[in-house]
């Protein structure tokens, strides 16, 4: 690209990309629903598997819901860049002269809207199923609202790195699960503390810090990973 050439407006490109990805997600509704259904099935299997003891279910609820949310996110992650990579759209993005970091951020934001937000919205229902006490239910929702964007952001780096591999999805899960561990620990600790009537704000603070850090850094890393995958 000519260094003196300036492409069109960045906000226009960002909005166009988000709009297109939402439209595509709507056109492929079945793909969109799959992670959500997966989440519902996993959670509803637990009472069947370990018995419907209300105390036990309430105890394991934070961990179960969060682990199911991790799995549902990883299932949906591969779609983040794959179709753009395979049909050449990513090449067009590079040539457009728009920074790839911004493009990655737009795609991650849409991914969260499509895959993360439904989990957050469903979580009160899931928490009720698992007999989570009402006072910790709101904390559960807040941890998911803060945590699921982090999952999308960190996941995008893994997707960027594995996109050029034929069966990258399997490697992707190995790559991102270790990175998800701290979020899982902090988020479940917050909900458990709330259930026990202990202070939990520090955990939410840590999650917020994680969110800010990953929003600032992950798009750069994802863009760098995509560049490596393209060459």
């Amino acid at each position: 690209m000519n260094p003196e050439y300036t492409a069109g407006s960045l906000s226009g490109a960002f909005a166009a990309l988000v709009r297109r990805d939402l439209l595509l997600a709507f056109r492929r509704r079945t793909e969109l629903l799959f992670p959500v259904i997966f989440l519902l099935v996993v959670i509803s299997l637990f009472p069947l598997g370990i018995g419907p003891s209300p105390q036990l279910l309430a105890r394991i609820a934070p961990g179960v819901i969060w682990i199911a949310a991790l799995l549902a996110t990883v299932i949906s992650l591969d779609a983040l860049f794959r179709s753009d990579f395979e049909d050449g759209t990513l090449e067009q993005f590079v040539i457009s002269g728009h920074p790839l970091t911004l493009i990655a951020l737009a795609k991650i934001a849409t991914h969260w809207l499509v895959a993360g937000l439904p989990i957050v919205l469903l979580s009160p229902l899931l928490a009720l199923w698992m007999n989570l006490p009402l006072e910790s239910l709101s904390v559960m929702v807040v941890t998911l609202a803060l945590g699921t964007p982090i999952l999308s952001l960190i996941g995008s780096i893994g997707v960027g790195l594995t996109i050029s591999l034929k069966r990258g999805g399997q490697l992707l899960s190995l790559l991102v699960f270790p990175l998800y561990v701290p979020i899982l620990i902090i988020a479940t600790a917050a909900v458990m503390a709330a259930s026990d009537g202990l202070p939990y704000v520090q955990f939410l603070g840590l999650l917020t810090a994680g969110l800010i850090t990953s929003v600032t850094l992950a798009p750069f890393a994802a863009a760098a990973a995509l560049k490596i995958s393209l060459s």
Binding site: M1, N2, A7, D87, G88, Q92, V94, I95, S231
Partner: protein, 196 residues
């Protein structure tokens, strides 16, 4: 507009093509020919900035660059008009009316159809429509004639002639079944492997 001096590209430590040097000026067409597998696509991708040359210097002074390669960057789940509207909004520089462009490339009848229902030639036309959509001084075309019928080939040639008459530049890679007729054409025969 675009000048290259001693550009080379290595894959797994083996050079893909012999070093390339040229200087493309406005109103000129650089026609890259060569056998299958000699590195035409790789060279175009290097020139487009998707790949980084292993050695040599590439200077791009063009105002805007458009690239149509083997992967057409068309979304199956969007209609022709939605595909092009997205690209126009995404690139965001002074743009033409999408409907006009669709008519020009002969897709008027299928404009509202999802791209998955198009034939290979129609998809190619849809990708070529991107060239007309925004103002790009430099066109990089990788086998633009593939999959096109006789009328489509003539369409590419007339688009190309108009672009070059308006002072644009173009680099076109083809294996040579059809060659565009333009008076300011430089032939460049690409040879694979290391420098002789």
């Amino acid at each position: 507009m675009l000048s290259a001096s001693q550009i080379s590209f290595e894959r797994y430590f083996a050079p893909v093509f012999q070093p390339v040097s040229f200087d493309l000026e406005a109103g000129r067409l650089l026609l890259i020919t060569g056998a299958n597998g000699c590195g035409k696509t790789t060279l175009i991708r290097v020139l487009a900035g998707i790949l980084h040359p292993t050695s040599g210097k590439l200077e791009n002074r063009a105002h805007g660059m458009a690239y149509v390669g083997h992967y057409l960057a068309i979304k199956d789940d969007l209609s022709v008009i939605e595909n092009l509207r997205f690209m126009r909004d995404f690139i965001g520089t002074s743009a033409r009316d999408v409907d006009d462009v669709i008519g020009e490339v002969g897709l008027g009848r299928v404009a509202e159809q999802l791209a998955r229902t198009l034939s290979a030639g129609q998809r190619k036309r849809c990708a070529l429509a991107r060239l007309l959509l925004t103002e790009n001084e430099l066109w990089l075309l990788d086998e633009p004639y593939s999959n096109l019928d006789q009328e489509g080939v003539e369409l590419v040639d007339s688009m190309l002639n108009r672009h070059l008459e308006d002072g644009g530049g173009c680099i076109l890679a083809t294996h040579g079944a059809h060659r565009p007729a333009w008076r300011g054409t430089h032939d460049f025969h690409l040879v694979s492997g290391a420098a002789a």
